[in-house]
Symmetry: C2
Subunit: 206 residues, 2 copies
């Protein structure tokens, strides 16, 4: 039997879409949640000195989005055709762009507080609505209750934990005003395997 | 006949892998090279206020990597199986990570010169070798003369123009010491359609 081992911090963020995908796929994976204090020792053993990494038997996979796309293909969660696959990729990239913009502010430990406050306000009033309106329009167009394709896809399983992570960083519910994105979120959270995983996941460090 | 129109600056960077792919695919595309002075007017007409965008008949595609993967699928430049596709995605992501690290220094117009010099030295002595050694190992393992798969792929057509762009930013030939990556570069540049495109592309603003 194929052995899966995911190594990441005890945290949602980049590890969580992989956990969602493995849970959806019904894979009994080892969820190796490492502590910050152990990171200096683990770091040089990873290919790019970063996590998540996913070990599948003897192969070491790294880079979150490529891992997610691979698992998506494995679990039949791709789009119906090449153009739908483009639309999924496009949404995943757009979510990632937004996530990185938020991280730059949320994890900024060196700038003065008034600069950070200004940047947070800009995120809330301008950047986040701009990106989420783009995604909301795509969800309206798909009309499926899922993000970008005519059926449920790996992009949905990427979207939901990233929203959780961004909500955590911004300390608010970002989807409040986006009816269609909210529906995608709810539809994913309704899936039995995801519901079961979410019910039993550790709550600390969300 | 399907109409393709690529809109980007008169510059290599993010537009160039799309130009390489369209050239390889034998597509007679409109290469809409915009001037900086026209950008403020064009910007709000694009979905995420950024270029490149690729119009295919009435569809507007944006986000460079998703566009490249889509064209790769269209022109039969994907991997032999899901795992090879993962390896291509992984390389493309790693190249992108490196490119963004270089851009942060190369386009930094506000930091003091000694800070920028220090960061450039760190890139040259540490960051760039670290990433390129990772990619070199992958190219050695593929053993095909191409980046990550058993045959020529869209990742190769992404890799070469990104190297050109990073060479431009770092003002040096980054591949000098990487025999296998150099071979990938040369193999791509030998392809008839790429050779023809490169011979006739505008040289300014590389």
């Amino acid at each position: 039997m194929t052995k899966y081992k995911l190594t990441y911090f005890n945290f949602v963020a980049l590890g969580e879409p992989i956990r969602f995908l493995l849970s959806y796929g019904g894979v009994d994976f080892e969820d190796n949640r490492i502590e910050w204090k152990d990171w200096p020792e683990i770091k040089p053993t990873t290919p790019l000195h970063q996590v998540p990494i996913l070990q599948i038997d003897n192969e070491v996979l790294y880079q979150t989005i490529p891992i997610c796309r691979y698992l998506g293909a494995k679990f039949n969660l791709t789009g119906a055709d090449d153009f739908e696959n483009y639309k999924l990729d496009n949404c995943v990239q757009t979510i990632t762009d937004l996530r990185m913009k938020i991280e730059m502010v949320a994890w900024d430990k060196s700038s003065p507080q008034n600069f950070i406050d200004e940047k947070r306000a800009e995120l809330l009033n301008k950047t986040i609505p701009f990106y989420l309106e783009n995604l909301e329009k795509i969800a309206v167009k798909s009309g499926s209750g899922y993000l970008a394709s005519s059926k449920f896809s790996w992009a949905d399983l990427y979207f939901v934990p990233m929203i959780e992570y961004m909500n955590f960083m911004m300390k608010t519910n970002l989807l409040e005003e986006y009816e269609n994105l909210k529906k995608v979120y709810e539809n994913v959270m309704k899936i039995e395997s995801i519901k079961n995983y979410v019910a039993k996941r550790p709550t600390q460090g969300n």
